[in-house]
C-alpha cells in the first residue's frame, strides 16, 4: 500500500491559506473556469455559487478522506465522482428549497458542480491521502479561494455592467452601464484583466527583488 508511505501533513494555518492565495484554484491553477465565468454576472450569484461549491468540496473531501483506505485504487475516480454527485444532488435540492429565484438564476450550473475540476482535483491530489482534519481544512481553504475569485469577478462585472453591487445602485442616473460586462464576453475580459494585473504585480515584485539583490551585492 502506497498510502502509508505518504507523509501525513500537519494542520497548520498554511493548509488553509494555501488555497486562498498561493494555490488559488482559479487565478493560479486555472481550474473550474466554467462556473467562474458563467454565473458571475452578479455578486449574489457569485456568492451563492461559491458557497455551494465550498459545501461540496468540504463534504466530499471529508467523506473521501474517511474512506481513503477502503476505496480500491482501480475504481477510485468513479467512486469520487459518485460521492461528489451525491453531495451535488443535496445542494441542488437545498438551493431549490431556500430560494427558487436563485435556483433559476444559476440554472444548470449547480448540477454542473459535479464536473468542476477543482473538486475532483482536490479529491485525487489531497483528500485521498490525508487524514480527516487536514483534508477538511484544505478543502475549506480551496473553497474560500474559489469563492474569493468568484467575488472578484462578480463585483467588477456587476459594478461595470449594472452600476450596482448586491443590487444597491452606486452611481448617479447619468451612469451608462457597460452592458457587455454582464454578457458572456465580459466574463472573459474581466478574468483576463485580473490575470494581467496579477502577472504585472508578480513581475514588478521580481524586478524589485532583483534590484535589491544587486544593491546588496554592490554594497558588500
Amino acid at each position: 500500500m502506497t498510502g502509508q508511505l505518504i507523509r501525513q501533513e500537519q494542520v497548520t494555518p498554511d493548509t488553509f491559506l494555501r488555497g486562498l492565495w498561493e494555490e488559488n484554484p482559479v487565478f493560479v491553477m486555472m481550474l473550474g473556469l466554467c462556473p467562474v465565468l458563467a454565473v458571475t454576472n452578479s455578486t449574489i450569484n457569485a456568492l451563492a455559487m461559491g458557497l455551494a461549491t465550498t459545501f461540496v468540496l468540504v463534504s466530499s473531501g471529508a467523506l473521501i478522506s474517511l474512506l481513503r483506505n477502503l476505496i480500491p485504487k482501480q475504481v477510485r475516480i468513479a467512486t469520487y465522482i459518485v460521492i461528489i454527485a451525491t453531495f451535488v444532488t443535496i445542494v441542488d435540492y437545498l438551493i431549490q428549497a431556500i430560494s427558487l429565484d436563485l435556483y433559476n438564476a444559476l440554472g444548470a450550473f449547480i448540477q454542473l458542480i459535479v464536473v468542476n475540476c477543482v473538486i475532483l482535483g482536490r479529491a485525487e491530489a489531497y483528500a485521498s491521502k490525508q487524514k480527516l482534519p487536514a483534508a477538511v481544512v484544505n478543502a475549506l481553504g480551496m473553497g474560500a479561494g474559489f469563492t474569493l475569485a468568484l467575488l472578484c469577478l462578480g463585483t467588477v462585472r456587476e459594478l461595470l455592467g449594472a452600476g450596482s453591487i448586491l443590487g444597491f445602485h452606486l452611481f448617479s442616473a447619468n451612469f451608462e452601464p457597460w452592458v457587455v460586462m454582464v454578457l458572456p464576453p465580459g466574463g472573459f475580459f474581466v478574468l483576463g484583466s485580473w490575470l494581467l494585473l496579477f502577472e504585472y504585480l508578480k513581475q514588478r515584485r521580481a524586478r524589485k527583488a532583483e534590484a535589491a539583490a544587486e544593491v546588496m551585492a554592490h554594497g558588500s
Binding site: V114, V115, L196, E199
Partner: protein, 196 residues
C-alpha cells in the same frame, strides 16, 4: 423559425448559444488543447462522439428514471454513463490511432469532466426535447464546440509568431482572445429573433 424545429435547435446550439463562447461550457479543453489546429480538430471529433453516445443514453435513462419515479438519481446516472462513454472512446482510439491517443494525452480522460457533455445531457432533459430534437441538439453542440476550438487554434497558431508584452503571455491573452471571439458570436443572436 419555430423554436422547437430541428433546424433551429441545431443552429441555436452551434452558433447562437454556442456552448463554449456563450454558455461557458467546456472551457478546460478550449484553453488547454487549442494550441494546434490538428489536435483541436481531433479533440472536437472525440468530444462530439462522446456527446452523441451520452445524449442518446441520457435520453434512455431519463425515460427509465421517470418511469420508476426516481429522478433524484439522474445526476449520478448521467455521470456514470458519460464516464463509460469516455472509456469506450479511449479504448477505440488506443486500438486504431495510438498517435492521436498520445497527442490528446490527459485531455482524453478529462472529457469525463468536460462540463459541455454533462451540460448537454442536463439541458436536453430540462428543455424536454424528444429523441430527434436531442440528436439535433447534440450534433449542433458538437459542431459549435469544434468550431470554437478550431477558431481559437487558428488564432493561437498565428499568435505564436507575434510579439506580445511579457505580462500578457499565456492564459491572460487566451482569455482576451476568447472574449473577442465571444463578442463576435453575439452577432449570431439576431439569427434566432426573439427566441434566443
Amino acid at each position: 423559425m419555430a423554436p422547437d424545429s430541428l433546424t433551429f435547435i441545431f443552429l441555436n446550439a452551434a452558433l447562437i448559444n454556442n456552448f463554449v463562447l456563450a454558455l461557458f461550457l467546456g472551457l478546460c479543453p478550449f484553453l488547454g488543447v487549442s494550441a494546434k489546429k490538428e489536435t483541436a480538430w481531433n479533440m472536437g471529433l472525440a468530444t462530439m462522439f462522446v456527446m452523441l453516445v451520452s445524449s442518446v443514453s441520457a435520453y434512455g435513462i431519463n425515460w427509465l428514471l421517470t418511469l420508476l419515479k426516481i429522478e433524484f438519481l439522474r445526476l449520478i446516472c448521467y455521470i456514470a454513463v458519460i464516464a463509460s462513454a469516455v472509456q469506450l472512446v479511449e479504448m477505440v482510439l488506443k486500438r486504431f490511432s495510438p498517435i492521436l491517443f498520445r497527442a490528446l494525452g490527459i485531455f482524453l480522460p478529462l472529457i469525463t469532466t468536460n462540463c459541455a457533455i454533462l451540460g448537454l445531457a442536463l439541458f436536453q432533459t430540462n428543455r424536454e426535447y424528444d429523441f430527434l430534437q436531442s440528436i439535433a441538439f447534440c450534433i449542433g453542440a458538437g459542431v459549435g464546440f469544434t468550431l470554437a476550438l478550431m477558431l481559437m487554434a487558428s488564432l493561437r497558431e498565428k499568435l505564436a509568431l507575434a510579439k506580445v508584452p511579457t505580462v500578457a503571455q499565456g492564459a491572460a491573452l487566451s482569455l482576451m482572445l476568447a472574449g473577442l471571439l465571444s463578442l463576435a458570436f453575439m452577432g449570431f443572436a439576431g439569427l434566432g429573433g426573439s427566441h434566443a
